[in-house]
Amino acid sequence: MKTAKGSEFLFFALRNPKLRVGLTVVLFFLGLSLIGPLLTHNAPFDYVNPAGADPPSSEYWFGTTTFGQDVFAQFVEGLRATFLVGLIGGGLGTLIGVIVGFTAGYRGGLVDEALNMLTNIVLVIPTLAVLLIITAYLEVRGVLIESIFIGLTAWPWTARAIRAQTFSLRSREFVDLARLSGMKSSKIVFTEIAPNMMSYLLLAFILQFGGATLIAATLDFIGLGPTTGISLGLMMNNAVLWGALYLGMWWWFVPPGLAITTIVGALYVTNVGLDEVFNPKLREM
């Protein structure tokens, strides 16, 4: 039965247009971030174009900055940062969320009360305000640190969702049966509950990934992102600082924002696609 179910997911997954489109886009950018640096011989910060700012051309696909830096080189480099943040920040956020939410939901009682309280508190405190202040403390910041702090502040809503989910799961028959049959709770968690939770985790992670990249972009844009290296948000920041809007250097600030939007958008679409795959009710027959 389970295998049949699994194959059924796969079947829908492969046929769900939202999922297909979404994944393709994300994977495309991921690929670009990986092989991109090979497509250009320019380093992100080198002053390669003596002419300064030039619109996109066969030589500089995305044009060049005021200083004659290759925008494409910066772009692909920035993509990496974006994915890194999404992966680490989103991953961490999901992880903490799952641990907290699950413990709360599964243990219940006082533990739940306490954790739930904590979640709600952290939930109310606006993340960015905190991040701004935290990052302001760090004298020199890297993408890694940034992602970690993002992860540390982004978990609450995941915790909430997972908690609710766990509640519903632990009251299901098969769990009771397992408990009756004297299975160790740890074993129950991994054999009975975890598998039923996987779909949920996946969805949560995707959303966290998107959220993390957006927050990171915001931080970078207001100049509290990495003080070393380049990122898409930082590119926009520089573009604005150096008057790209007024001097009409659209190629400097359009690609980075567009990339973020497309990636995150694609992630959301993927998410809905998966949702449809997991919940037959949402499928359109």
């Binding site: 309280m117 709600n120 508190i121 939930l123 109310v124 405190i125 606006p126 993340t127 960015l128 305000a129 905190v130 701004l132 202040i133 302001a136 403390y137 004298e139 809503w157 909430r160 998107g210 959220g211 957006l214 927050i215 972009a217 915001t218 844009f221 207001i222 100049g223 509290l224 948000g233 926009m236 604005v240 809007l245 007024y246 659209w250 600030f253 359009v254 980075p256 924002g257 567009l258 973020i260 939007t261 497309t262 990636i263 995150v264 958008g265 992630l267 959301y268 679409v269 809905v272 949702d275 009710k281 949402l282 359109e284």
Partner: protein, 330 residues
Amino acid sequence: MRRYFGRKFLIYGLTFLLAVTIDWLIPRFMPGDPIANMLSRAALNADAAQVLYTYYTHAFRLDLPIWQQYLNFWNALFHGDLGISTYLFPTPVVRVLLRAVPYDIALLLPAILLSWLAGNRFGAFAARTKWLDNTVLPLGYILTATPYMWLGILLAWVLGIVLGLFPIAGAYSFDLSPHLSWRFLSDVVWHWFLPFASLFLVQFGGWAIGMRNMIIYELEADYSHYLEALGSPRRLVRNYAFRNALLPQLSGLALQLGVIVAGALVTEVVFSYPGIGYLLLSAIQNQDYFLVQGCFLFIIIGVLVANFAIDIVYVLVDPRTRKGMTGEKA
């Protein structure tokens, strides 16, 4: 219901306590020495600098023992005294903030409410209407995925610079000094529009998507099926589904507040709109930790108030909370 609110208040209380404590800790972690920074703005002779340094240190009560500073902080807080801004020395922080708050309200309140209402209507409209679902909805996804500042930049570029329809910085023109007149108000609204628009659009997308997904769940709920089985027209079924889908959307609003604040913050930066967010950034950049404290505090209070407002509305619209059956939202 009493239990419901009691619980809420407890949470808000604790949140506030925590927030204030974090707030108090801010300067104690700040790298560098704000007063030294402030003095270094003007090249001074060493002795004068020294004298002033000690002077300010005392003025800002940084020379007291930590615990006492903490108590003083609370005490001062309840007297509405958040210290003096070093960045805008010698203006009291509270005064600086009170000048900024109206801009935030003017920006956030309409943006949040309108986008929520419009977004939900639209989402419900699109749901299960194939062509809309497949054509217009992707727009929603794109909008909600757009980084606030990027949309801001694009609007500023296209509408502000290329077409020159709107100003893209400040709250009102430089050839006006504030007064109650049509000229001034229209000028203010004119400056207000772009920041508002970029906030509105991004959120609109989010709510549309949210409602679209919610209402599909509701349309598949048992009560919807029953109504169909009794042959009640689609209109009624959808109407019910919509109303019920609004509830999770409402709690969604509470959950989103943090993100929205973030959006407002960065939008204000893009359009140099003199709200709290804009202030917070300059405060951080200028190491003015009293101002940072103030901004953070005001933001927290704002969010708490908003949350509470939403709780009340929620109780009004959802009988279940009123009957004390379920305490939690979402």
